[in-house]
């Protein structure tokens, strides 16, 4: 009996020591359910970043070197479940800090848990402006503002020949896409383009034949779609089968993702989009070397190419590590204040948050050409030639 008690005490002491030496992150991510194919980027990003950082010794908290642990839950692509899981991560699992889920509507709901508990959450999955206009103090994001997603594309439009005049704007009815549409509308107005169709559709819509017919009859030169990957797949396939080929079309999702290009094959060529991240050697990182090396290591480890979701997820972990080291503590309040001031270079780009907590990065316009993602336009200049105007489907 006595012996057993001693064991118990020893075990307790051991776990206390182990507890003192780890910083635990908690996250609830879409591992199953309809958005699982994007959710996996975040699981893999968190795992990979933590593995690398731990291999390099972990995180320095004051004078001690601590390892990082991750408690990851599967929210099954269900917002309500993810909210419960974030509460559980804080109340039951006692994690130190929160990493975010994928998608704006999830971040919108889940960040309220972080705010209520005064524990900082850094997320690379939600870009909607709505997340940052509520005066929250504990939410930080590594995706640039949704309202500017089409910014680089619209800048590029002004320099095209023949100049496009008319635009159709389609968007799904969720937080991120409504936010994109709102920002895009203003940008289009400033650019002096005529909007011939501005229409919201239901999330998970599968039939776009009516919208495509309206695009055709309205003679839209340019079509901008803010939606989800399944919708964009259906949109492009139906555009082909209805013979609708605007001079240019651009999508907020899908274009940078490997499975999107694979599903569409040749039909993906010509689709434009944007990304805040490309795996270039100019992006230096303390743990991964540079972004190109990161992309190679990722492909070797997980068997698919990373896109900006992956890099934004890694950046979220690195932001925490930097903030904890700067704060010299794992006190949520101190780390929160340090997060507000971080400024470092990462595999994803330069990380610093504005007073609302969101990063500011320019979007690079991209286009799929010969089954590859080609950077087209950034800042004020073309990087590569845009295929424009797109040839009709039967000539592709």
């Amino acid at each position: 009996m006595m012996l057993r008690f001693l064991f118990f005490v020893a075990a307790l002491a051991a776990s206390a020591v182990a507890g003192a030496q780890t910083v635990t992150f908690g996250a609830s991510v879409q591992l199953t359910g309809p958005v699982a194919n994007t959710g996996r980027y975040y699981k893999d990003a968190y795992d990979f970043a933590i593995e690398k950082i731990n291999a390099a010794g972990g995180v320095k908290v004051g004078s001690t070197q601590q390892k990082i642990a991750l408690k990851l839950l599967d929210n099954q692509s269900d917002v309500n479940l993810s909210v419960r899981q974030y509460s559980q991560l804080l109340s039951q699992d006692k994690v130190n800090f929160l990493l975010g889920p994928f998608a704006s509507n999830f971040v919108l709901a889940d960040s309220s848990i972080a705010e209520k508990s005064s524990v900082p959450m850094v997320q690379g999955g939600g870009a909607s402006d709505e997340i940052y206009t509520r005066g929250y103090k504990y939410i930080f994001g590594t995706l640039p503002a949704a309202s500017d997603y089409f910014g680089s594309t619209i800048d590029a439009l002004a320099k095209l020949n023949p100049a496009p005049k008319t635009v159709a704007l389609l968007y799904a009815d969720d937080s991120f896409d409504v936010s994109v549409a709102k920002g895009t509308r203003e940008l289009l107005k400033k650019a002096g383009l005529t909007t011939v169709l501005d229409e919201r559709y239901s999330t998970n819509a599968s039939d776009f034949s009516v919208l495509l017919s309206r695009i055709k009859s309205g003679n839209a030169d340019v079509v901008l779609v803010a939606g989800h990957e399944t919708e964009v797949l259906n949109f492009i396939r139906q555009a082909k089968s209805l013979g609708v080929s605007p001079k240019l079309y651009s999508f907020t999702v899908g274009v940078p993702s490997a499975d999107f290009r694979q599903a569409l094959g040749k039909d993906a060529n010509g689709a434009s989009g944007m990304t805040a991240w490309l795996p270039s050697t100019s992006l230096k990182d303390q743990w991964f070397g540079d972004a190109e090396a990161f992309a190679k290591a990722w492909k070797a480890k997980f068997g698919y190419d990373p896109d900006y979701h992956a890099a934004a997820g890694v950046a979220a972990v690195e932001a925490f590590v930097n903030a904890i080291q700067n704060a010299g503590s794992t006190d949520p309040q101190k780390v929160r204040d340090a997060l507000a001031k971080v400024s470092f270079d990462s595999v994803y780009g330069h990380i610093a948050f504005n007073d609302k907590g969101q990063i500011s990065l320019p979007q690079i316009m991209i286009q799929i050409q010969d089954d590859k993602v080609v950077p087209i336009f950034a800042g004020k200049d073309f990087i590569n030639k845009l295929v424009y105007p797109l040839p009709p489907w039967d000539k592709r």
Partner: protein, 287 residues
């Protein structure tokens, strides 16, 4: 005017796909009195079957349809004999729960086996179309429509004129009398569920050719099939053609005149109206 004509054509063609989707669900519901909530998951499995036959062995998706149908028939037959048969006399709630459970299992197995990647069956002619009087008509969708119509009529003739078909109808109408005349309900039920699954498989192969495939497409497809079956009625396979066409056209016109976000409002509005005015469906027998 041209726009309206184009939208109507799209609505009719969409209706064909809808009808095909609902055909298997309506058959199983009418005969076994089971609302098969795993119907959409079976469509998903059919889509993957055709997808792999197409990408791995390069078999044309239309040629794979019979193979997919046979594969799914076996899956359906096994599900009925192995699981559903034990609860077939149970209350409706039990069969709902069981088929829901099958849906969940099939969906998550699909994610485990095939990952959550989006896929599409994309033969070179997938986007082909032709024009009549300025209206663009997608070739594959016309084929889908023809197959839907053909299968529905074949199903109708099968139920009317074959021994098994009459056995199926007899079991649906009066089980006791059917048994007295030598119909073996166990066999009939498994055959019917297998047929329903085979139809789901064919739908899946065609769905993957016009849309996209991932493990989670099943749920919304079941919901849509359910609505179509109610609108058309369960008594007659031709009902689903009517239900599918009504839904396809109503949705398309709603998207044209009221906006795309009102599509579901319109389709479920039609469903409510039918339930109130003609509870046994547009082609159903009125009580």
């Amino acid at each position: 005017m041209e726009l309206l004509a184009q939208v109507l054509v799209s609505g009719v063609l969409l209706g064909g796909l809808y009808a095909l989707m609902a055909l298997g669900l309506a058959l199983v519901w009418g005969v076994l009195n089971i609302v098969n909530l795993s119907h959409g998951a079976l469509i998903m499995l059919g889509a993957y079957t055709s997808y792999f036959l197409f990408t791995v062995w390069h078999i044309d998706p239309f040629v794979t349809l019979p193979i997919t149908a046979v594969v799914l028939f076996i899956v359906g037959y096994a599900i009925e004999r192995g699981i559903l048969n034990f609860v077939i006399r149970g209350p409706m709630f039990n069969t709902l729960l069981i088929t829901f459970g099958i849906e969940v299992i099939l969906t998550y197995l699909a994610q485990l086996w095939f990952s959550a990647d989006f896929r599409a069956i994309n033969p070179t002619y997938a986007g082909a179309n032709f024009a009549i009087a300025g209206i663009t008509i997608p070739t594959v969708q016309v084929l889908v429509f023809a197959i839907a119509l053909g299968l529905t009529i074949a199903m109708w003739l099968f139920l009317l004129h074959t021994r098994i078909g009459r056995g199926i109808r007899a079991s649906a109408q009066n089980l006791v009398a059917a048994r007295l005349y030598g119909v073996d309900p166990k066999r009939i039920y498994a055959l019917t569920f297998g047929l329903g699954a085979a139809l789901a498989g064919v739908t899946g192969g065609l769905y993957g050719t016009v849309s996209q495939i991932n493990p989670y497409i099943g749920g919304p497809l079941t919901a849509k099939s359910f609505a179509i079956a109610i609108i058309g009625g369960l008594d007659n396979p031709l009902g689903v053609i009517v239900g599918g066409l009504v839904l396809g056209i109503v949705e398309s016109l709603t998207a044209l005149y009221f906006g795309s976000t009102y599509r579901d409002v319109a389709s479920f509005g039609v469903l409510l109206l039918v339930l109130i005015l003609r509870p046994s469906g547009l082609l159903g027998r009125t009580a």
